[in-house]
């Protein structure tokens, strides 16, 4: 009888001890994880274009975190972005919907300064305050700050804003991917 009690007591003691160690460790070594929304937001391209039908990237991130929206809604992020979201959220990759907006090359807005009437509507539309100007003054886009969201295009009453793809420059030139060494049979046969 006493043996049984001793055994039970020992087990209890051990359980308490291990529990205490585990509890201590969980407090002591707690990893302060980014909240999920921040992690999602870090993947989103921050174009703030609203094409995901959310008023900006962060609201979309919140919707994703809450599970109330799909991961294939952000065209500026491209398929790469979807892939990263899929990995982070542990879901399947999903291509862009066929009738949904498709990704396109990034461009930067340019205001035709001769036509601009200085109505400030584009300033109000720009989600990142990348347009400079004042009432009745010519407006201009700070190219380095423009995210290419195209939100300023629609409100402009005189249609003087165009999207210009950024030119190739030495500062953003990239080495290309070296030719893939494996050839398929047919091209191998013709050589």
């Amino acid at each position: 009888m006493s043996q049984l009690l001793i055994a039970v007591a020992l087990m209890l003691l051990l359980a308490l001890l291990l529990g205490a160690i585990l509890g201590y460790a969980s407090v002591r070594f707690r990893v302060k994880a980014d909240p999920l929304v921040d992690k999602i937001d870090a993947i989103l391209p921050q174009t703030q274009c609203g094409q995901c039908s959310h008023p900006g990237c962060r609201p979309y991130a919140e919707a994703l975190a809450a599970g109330s929206d799909d991961i294939n809604k952000c065209p500026p992020g491209g398929e790469d972005g979807i892939r990263k979201l899929a990995e982070l959220l542990g879901v399947e990759f999903k291509p862009f919907g066929a009738d949904a907006p498709q990704p396109k090359a990034k461009a930067v807005a340019l205001i035709d300064e001769a036509t601009c009437i200085g109505c400030t509507l584009c300033i109000q539309a720009c989600p990142v305050d990348a347009i400079l100007g004042a009432a009745k003054q010519m407006h201009t886009v700070i190219a380095s700050e423009c995210t290419g969201c195209e939100l300023c295009l629609a409100p402009c009453p005189v249609d003087c804003i165009r999207m210009i793809p950024p030119g190739s420059e030495l500062t953003n030139w990239k080495w290309r991917y070296p030719t893939i060494p494996i050839r398929n049979v047919s091209s191998g046969a013709t050589r």
């Binding site: 009745k136 700050e145 009453p157 030495l170 080495w175």
Partner: protein, 600 residues
């Protein structure tokens, strides 16, 4: 004999230097037209400070440095500026770059040269500024502005060792060899200036032992100055700055660490020669020695003006009929020139003409067999086959973990690879992708910050406006009450009519208050446009209203403005943004919630 150290890896490709090193340096003829590119160093292109049609003298400043890593550009000869326009540029991208086209007048008329005769009394900082004005950059290939390398910030001062790089390890190239043979004294003068600027304790000149004549000449010249000339074993890439420092001093300096932090600095012989010419003779960097070799009749070293069109230089040595492309730099680290109309740049140490006979094309790449030859050839002990694997799979995180950025792109691994894999090309590809991703990331962060600040700003403006309106309404009410009583006293008969008019006026005023601008400018627009504007405004108003509602519902007071005045000041805005980020985030969330309901 001082002890020498070894660096890991390395290769022994056939040297092929004799073709060009046999004959003395020739002066290249003055070309009728020069294209002086404005991007002559790492960093920004220089800013032109002459106009089209200006007559310039040889050595006159024609473009000034723009930013830290930029280098000044001088007129290589006297003549007239005939164009400032994008021109073909010696760069693997083939992208044109802004260049100043100079029509030479054949007079070679110098500006008044102002040497720094009393350099021995001058401080290092003064010499540094002088060299910056003279546009001196590293001539070994990296074209890093030299004056920056003379700055001793973070470094051990005075410097332990000044290493002079005369190794010239890449096959075919012999411009430094000839320079050392023929102008050893001038080089040593330049070293003396550099040493003075750096306050270096000792000077070691490292020369590969396959250049006995250069070693002898340098020894003779250096003896008077007390510089050590060291013959180092021939092994590529002993001419890499960090490799040579390792050989001579035993110090292995990792990537991302400046040599000065270890008390060493390294200059190329051609660079110190240019420093000497600048300080002692007042000549800015307007010419350099170029090796013209490869599939040519008479390989040679010529001293050519910066900006000389490359095809004219090549014509001097008569390329073989079957030559098909030209490489700038050596066969291991050079790049194929996309356009030979480009002008010579300060980086152009060698033009290597390729022909299929001399440089047979490599067979198609095969799979990596993990033979490890590349790893034993790598001078920085990387595992090139792993890096290749990661770069090929675009697994850039892993590549960085495997220290991709320690790779000096020396090409030793590509040279030995039995599977003929273009390894260096994969590393360059991976590096530029990583840089691009970095740029995107920074841009996204900037956009996020600006967007958050904007959210905050809108909230704050609204709060201010509401406050103002409330104040005004209170005032108006008070006034109206007063006038009312007065009016009641004067004309009590027209009371209901007047009240109606007053109310209409107040409404109009409130409307103007709410949307002060658009209506004023929209005169003269067609109906459709106006409708669009109205719609846009209506949308904005709806959004605002919804947000207000949400705000009211959540009972969250709008974030108080941290400072109401300094808005336009960028710095203050940034600080404000940082301070208000949390508040703005919350506001954005609220707005989002509000927007989800009314918006489709």
């Amino acid at each position: 004999m001082m002890p020498l150290f070894d660096f890991p890896g390395g290769i022994h490709p056939p040297e092929n230097k004799a073709q060009s090193s046999a004959t003395p340096i020739r002066q290249a003829p003055l070309p009728p037209q020069l294209h002086v590119a404005l991007r002559q160093s790492m960093g920004n292109a220089a800013r032109p400070c002459v106009a089209i049609g200006d007559r310039v003298a040889k050595g006159q400043l024609i473009a000034s440095a723009d930013g830290r890593l930029s280098a000044a550009v001088h007129a290589p000869t006297s003549g007239v500026v005939s164009a400032i326009a994008p021109q073909p540029f010696a760069h693997p991208s083939g992208l044109p770059e802004l260049a100043i086209t100079l029509d030479s007048d054949g007079e070679e008329r110098w500006i008044e040269r102002q040497p720094l005769h009393d350099w021995q009394q001058r401080s290092g900082a003064k010499i540094r500024d002088f060299l910056a004005q003279m546009g001196i950059v590293g001539l070994g290939g990296a074209v890093f502005p030299s004056h920056l390398k003379l700055g001793l910030k973070l470094g051990v001062s005075p410097l332990e060792t000044l290493v002079i790089n005369g190794a010239e390890c890449e096959p075919y190239i012999s411009c430094d060899d000839r320079l050392m043979r023929e102008r050893a004294d001038a080089i040593c003068d330049g070293i003396a200036v550099t040493r003075h600027a750096l306050q270096a304790r000792q000077v070691l000149i490292g020369i590969e032992d396959n250049k006995p004549q250069a070693i002898a000449a340098m020894q003779a010249a250096a003896a008077a100055h007390g510089f050590g000339v060291v013959a180092v074993p021939t092994k590529y890439p002993s001419g890499g700055a960090k490799q040579l420092i390792r050989i001579l001093t035993g110090k292995a300096i990792p990537h991302g660490v400046r040599a000065t932090e270890h008390g060493v600095q390294c200059f190329n012989v051609a660079t110190v020669y240019a420093i000497g010419r600048a300080v002692l003779h007042g000549e800015p960097l307007i010419s350099r020695i170029v090796t013209l070799t490869g599939a040519v009749e008479a390989a040679a070293n010529v001293e050519a003006l910066i900006g000389t069109p490359l095809d004219q230089l090549l014509a001097l040595v008569r390329p073989h009929r079957d030559s098909h492309e030209v490489v700038m730099g050596g066969p291991l680290m050079g790049f194929t020139l996309p356009d030979l109309a480009a002008g010579l740049t300060k980086a152009g140490n060698c033009l290597l003409v390729k022909s299929p006979a001399l440089f047979p094309p490599r067979p198609p790449a095969q799979a990596c067999i993990r033979c490890g030859d590349c790893a034993s050839a790598c001078p920085v002990s990387l595992q090139p086959m792993d890096l290749f694997w990661f770069a090929k799979a675009k697994n850039f995180d892993k590549a960085q973990q495997w220290q991709l950025f320690d790779c000096i792109e020396c090409g030793a691994c590509s040279y030995v690879c039995p599977s003929q894999i273009p390894l260096v090309d994969y590393y360059r590809f991976a590096k530029s992708e990583i840089w691009a991703a970095e740029r995107d990331k920074n841009a996204a962060n900037l956009a996020r910050q600006r967007h958050e600040f904007r959210q905050f700003r809108l909230q704050r403006d609204k709060a201010e406006k509401a406050q103002r309106l409330a104040d005004k309404a209170a005032q108006a009410a008070a006034r109206q009450a007063a006038s009312h009583s007065a009016a009641a006293n004067v004309a009590p008969a027209s009371d209901p009519k007047q009240a109606a008019i007053a109310a209409a006026m107040a409404r109009a005023a409130a409307q103007r208050e709410a949307a002060p601008l658009p209506e004023q400018h929209s005169s003269g627009l067609n109906d459709a446009k106006q409708a669009a504007i109205a719609a846009a405004m209506a949308r904005a108003a709806a959004r605002k209203a919804a947000a207000d509602e949400a705000k009211a519902a959540s009972g969250q007071p709008p974030a108080p403005p941290p400072s109401s005045s300094g808005l336009d000041d960028a710095k203050q805005a940034a600080i404000a943004a940082a301070m208000a980020r949390a508040a703005a985030r919350k506001a954005a969330a609220d707005q989002a919630r509000a927007n989800q309901q009314p918006d489709p």
